[in-house]
Amino acid sequence: MRKTILVALRDYNAAVRTKGFIIGLLVMPVMLGGSILVIKLTEDRVDTTDRRIAIVDRSGAVAPALVEAAERRNESDIYDEETGKKVRPACILEIVEPNEDDIEAQRLELSDKVRAGELFAFLEIGKEVVHPGDDADAARITYHSENPVFDDERHWLVHPINDRLRSVRVAEADLDDETVVRLVRWMPVEGLGLITLDEDTGEVKDADASEFEAIGIPYVMMMLMLMLIMATVNPLIHSVLEEKMQRIAEVLLGSVRPSQLMFGKLLGALGVSGTMISFYIIAA
């Protein structure tokens, strides 16, 4: 254990007694604060240009409902409730007649319009989306744009599309939407602590769920772990590489076992990250 501690102490001193460590110690909060500031300053700088999206609805059952949903959204959801300022882009949906003779040509034409900036995206709704059958292609709903993965519009469209499909299916079953919503209402299970007895008053206290305990502590712990890993891994890799490249490891292995060497290095790196965290806690 003595040799392990010696290795740890050497690594710790080598890392901590450097200008780089002290500069890093001071720069890290500045960088973190700076990045938070940048996020804060730029959070209201959203591209609010209207987004025109073409809908090719081969089922004929969905598009009009989507247009109505988009109009409702454009009237209220895209404005800040307090300031009335437009904070999100409007979604303008255009229904395009399906070209059943040449589906590919129509897709290419719409894609060219997106590339040319005439459209933001186009949505294609399969013929059998209301009652999906064996033909999987006929039941597909596809969204095409330059950046389909990150588009908020794609994520928003999912809800009115499925609301509409459910409504159609419910109506065909001779039910109404309200009844169905009531029938399939999802009941969550709340996580609470234990019931306690107040020894002074004899009152039985209800269990409560602290938001901080439930979310805050794990979040803070996760951030601390992240910092610990970031602060530990870099010096550790640097130290191992230095010893490997400069053949120091062979000299050390003439005195210590490989396990002692690695454990000592790990301890040293943990000491470095511990020092960083202690510094920030004390400074805070």
């Binding site: 010696l6 290795v7 080598a14 230095e242 053949r247 120091i248 000299v251 050390l252 003439g254 005195s255």
Partner: protein
Amino acid sequence: MNAVEIRNVTKTFGALTAVGDLSLNVPAGSVYGFIGPNGSGKTTTLRMIMSILLPDSGSIRVLDEERQEAATDRIGYLPEERGLYRRMKVRDVLRFYGKLKNRGNVSRDVDHWLEKLDLTEWADKKVETLSKGMSQKVQFIAAVVHRPDLVILDEPFTGLDPVNTDVLQQAVLELQANGATVIFSTHDMSTAETMCDFIFMIFKGRKVLDGTLTEIQDRYGTDTGRVRIDGDAAPLHDIPGVERVTDRGQLQELRIADDCDSQDILTVIASRARVRHFELARPSLHDIFVRIAGPEAEEATSA
């Protein structure tokens, strides 16, 4: 008593047998020289003695300990590739290596060795400011600062100027005088001849020589003639019974065949040129090395 006992040790790296069925005894208190061409297995053997590498088969007993780890603190090791923390100060790095050997306070020994090797004024400088020769001396101190019973030096004199070579050679002999066993590898045959009590040669992973210089030379007999003649060496060529002529500058070395009379050879030379010097001698270690390892090794040792 033996400081190191190697019994039928084999070490392979994939298809390559670096050391094959090696047995060797290193008597305590001796200076033992490991010689052999590059890649012959010297460093692998030294690393196995240090437990940095483990043998595939066989056993190694060091300082009377079956488990070499138990003797680690009594061994000093200077690896072939020097390894010092470049950003540490000389004194600090030496103290660190000394403490790793479980020596409590090595400060006095550090100062003693720094003074002995003329490095005192560099004690508080960073390793990265040292020249190659100075770094090598610091590495040497790191290997011996804890007063080891066994010192293993892998090519300790390579790259040193003659002055520093002499200093380190003296230091090695002093270690022996103080009771330590010293094993070192070298490509310099004259160093091995003058310093070593025993010489071990490994070639292609196999032991080919082991013993004192006299024992080794006795095996080859008095088959070497050293000649100095007026003029160039041309008259020495094509003499019946002379297997090889080696130009040593001021002297020419002849290898005389076993069944040949040296007097006949002298007569032939005298008939061709004026002979200034003729002596019969046992072959040098260099010559023996080259005979075993061939011309490639000769180039390596001459370099």
